[in-house]
Symmetry: C2
Subunit: 447 residues, 2 copies
């Protein structure tokens, strides 16, 4: 039996859901397929649960900070992971239901099944074997954690699985040097777990400006996260209740191994070979600036295209595609002007280009930077500096990028992003009257 939709959306994550909702609101007949839960990585196993865990972990620092301000806490507070886990799940379920309700309210058909292209005009559903067709297709299947092919890999878990852990043991090893690995390392350390971080190079967060990695590594060391650098994992073996991680340098005995070693686009079971959709050499779906694939009736949004893998980017791609399909308005996103946060301790906010990007593009730049002890730590012996770095074009003083490391960094960079979308120069910083006393005022007194 054939069923005709205007749009079939494959994958109900941030991009797919936004596209489906907007199109259905405009009167189109839309069907969305989802093999797992509606909401995608961000809601179910990414941004939202991660940030809830980070909030939980921040309190550890607050407890010790409080004592420098005259508070007396008679006994070291203890943390109950299971309670946090079940609160997190309750919240995710609540959000999941809202997503489904919002889709249903505007008449989107939700099919909770996996589908793959039958030909370039239709999709076959894996379980029910039904074939459904549409005028156009949207692939928004996102990305999935990738794990190295080493002996014993089945003893480890990935980030998706970590969010399903109801109980966790005291000694945890994280393999990876990207932001997911670092966020996990800090939040677990602050929740009183013993954390080993196993990284391949001497540096971490290598995709960002080097100062981000340097400052966060310094903080990880201060927090007594055990760093195993220049270490590549060779194998995992079970030893009683423990797991032995064998690296090129050491054997590390641990109770849980989490691989946070990158993510790959989810294209495995889509039957793309039947759809005339081409891939990039890195295995992502190849799209033009309007999110169109090599098949003019098939579009792809979000992580599956591996452009800038962030929730708000996926949503913006969806909105722009809706505008293009309904009004022919060609809006394109400037991927160099997108802000984002890393929820380590301290938090990182950054926008625009870092030194790594500028060097790669052979762009001439200058730097203004400061590191200072914020008023909040005036009474403390802790070394929790705030770090601010501004990269700019020497002649025009046009700002290429800003890095802010410290409390509320993501909230601060969010507001700065508004200025950044415009022509943004050092003079804009110079002319702003600061708000006193704040930490971000250093941004405007720096110049």
């Amino acid at each position: 039996m054939k069923k005709k939709y205007d749009y079939i959306v494959v994958g109900a994550g941030s991009a797919g859901v936004r596209f489906a909702r907007l199109m259905a609101t405009k009167g189109y007949k839309v069907c969305i397929l989802e093999k797992s839960r509606v909401g995608g990585t961000c809601v179910i196993r990414g941004c939202v649960p991660k940030k809830l865990y980070v909030y939980a972990s921040n309190f550890k620092d607050y407890f010790s900070d409080a004592t420098s301000f005259g508070w007396r806490i008679s006994k070291e507070p203890t943390h109950n992971w299971s309670k946090l886990f079940s609160s997190k799940n309750k919240e995710i379920t609540r959000l999941n239901k809202i997503y489904i309700k919002n889709l249903e309210r505007v008449g989107v058909t939700i099919i909770q099944e996996e589908g793959s292209f039958y030909n370039s005009n239709s999709i076959v559903l894996k379980k029910s074997k039904k074939i459904i067709s549409a005028k156009k297709f949207i692939i928004s299947t996102g990305s999935t954690p990738s794990m190295p092919n080493i002996p014993g890999r089945e003893l480890a878990i990935n980030s998706d699985q970590f969010f399903e852990m109801k109980k966790i043991p005291k000694n945890i090893s994280i393999v990876g040097s990207g932001y997911i690995a670092l966020e996990f390392a800090f939040l677990l350390k602050n929740l009183n777990y013993n954390v080993n971080l196993i990284v391949r190079k001497k540096t971490i967060l290598n995709e960002f400006d080097k100062d981000i990695g340097t400052k966060i590594l310094q903080s990880a060391i201060r927090k007594k996260i055990n760093i195993y650098d220049e270490s590549s994992v060779q194998s995992l073996t079970k030893k009683g209740k423990s797991i032995v991680v064998v690296t090129n340098k050491k054997k590390i005995t641990t109770n849980l191994v989490i691989f946070a070693t990158g993510r790959v686009p989810c294209i495995q079971s889509l039957g793309l070979e039947k759809s005339k959709v081409k891939l990039t050499k890195h295995g992502a779906i190849k799209v033009n600036a309007l999110s169109q694939t090599s098949n003019k009736n098939i579009f792809a949004l979000g992580d599956v295209t591996n452009r800038k893998n962030l929730t708000p980017v996926a949503i913006r791609e969806a909105v722009y595609l809706v505008n293009y399909l309904t009004t022919k308005k060609k809006q394109t996103l400037n991927y160099d002007k997108i802000a984002s946060g890393i929820f380590t301790q301290p938090e990182v906010g950054h926008i625009g280009l870092g030194e790594n990007d500028l060097q790669k593009r052979s762009i001439n730049y200058k730097i203004l930077q400061t590191e200072f002890k914020p008023l909040k730590y005036a009474f403390s012996n802790k070394n929790n500096p705030v770090f601010i770095k501004v990269l700019y074009q020497p002649k025009t003083e046009k700002i290429f990028g800003i890095i802010y490391i410290g409390e509320s960094a993501a909230e601060i960079i969010q507001s700065l992003a508004i200025s950044f979308a415009k022509t943004f120069t050092l003079n804009d910083l110079r002319n702003t009257v600061p708000v006193h006393p704040t930490s971000s005022e250093e941004l405007v007194t720096l110049v």
Copy 2:
């Protein structure tokens, strides 16, 4: 004995110190008079000690928030005021020394004495009776708390005296509805004191957009601050160790009364009658846009001019005056575009014009606003909404003002201030890709 300076600066607060330092750096002979400690209201008895107390008080909320994230705190933490007080004093002394050192390093003569105009070219020092003269004078004596003339007023203290309190009793009454009164009320309540807030009207924070007052009053009530509204204080009387506050409605028995009922420019002992410096009808020193008084050789900066009484404004006025005096560059400040924060719980950040200002000027406006439960309170039954309000011109969508009430509000508004200095429209918010998950992203998804 006469001594000839290029500039005599009266008052070593934010404006005076900045002016003196910059001028001395440029090679001028500068003398600064200060009857109290160097640093002014901001450093000694305002922004800095206030914010340190606010930081201390915030932990109370963190303790209760922590439990919703799985933390167990076996016994209610207690707070030691004296410890906070002495840490605060240590920090203020440290800052005070830095200020003095910075002045001395560039060769500013610091005279720790009170002075008043002897004639329009010279100043007589009160104690030493010396007369000193200069080519030009800067009055930067700031403002001082004003207290109502009621029977028993000597039993109460003002905000300056509050910062000198080494010990404080359990039951405290604060008279006033401005931001100082409210900041004190919240910080003391959170440090476990019983707080009565006595206000004249039914509303508070009446100088700001009405929603600021409404939201903060709601929070004060939730926090169980005892609000005595429509109450004007008639008298104070001593009753044993207590003080009885008699209002038009009630008698309130308390242990400490703090008046936060406004501030007045510090001009009392300046001998202005001998200087040809005129006052406004509200008793502030009258200046033009270049901070020049009615005597062309005398300038006034900061709170004593009662323009916008904020530290960074005073500093900016000082910088602009230095530029004018040394390069004839005429820079003027747009007092409508200055951001500021109120450190209540929740925090308030605001910039530009509020509804009150727009109505007063008969400007046509529209509002976009939202109130939402931030992710941080997902697990909590507490009602701690974030409130965002954007006021704009209907046709052009030019933004007149923004209010943000919630955690990190001051840091967020600081960064927004940079956009605000430019032509800032709703479209700028619309076009910004948000940072997820943050609270301030609602600013850009609101439109």
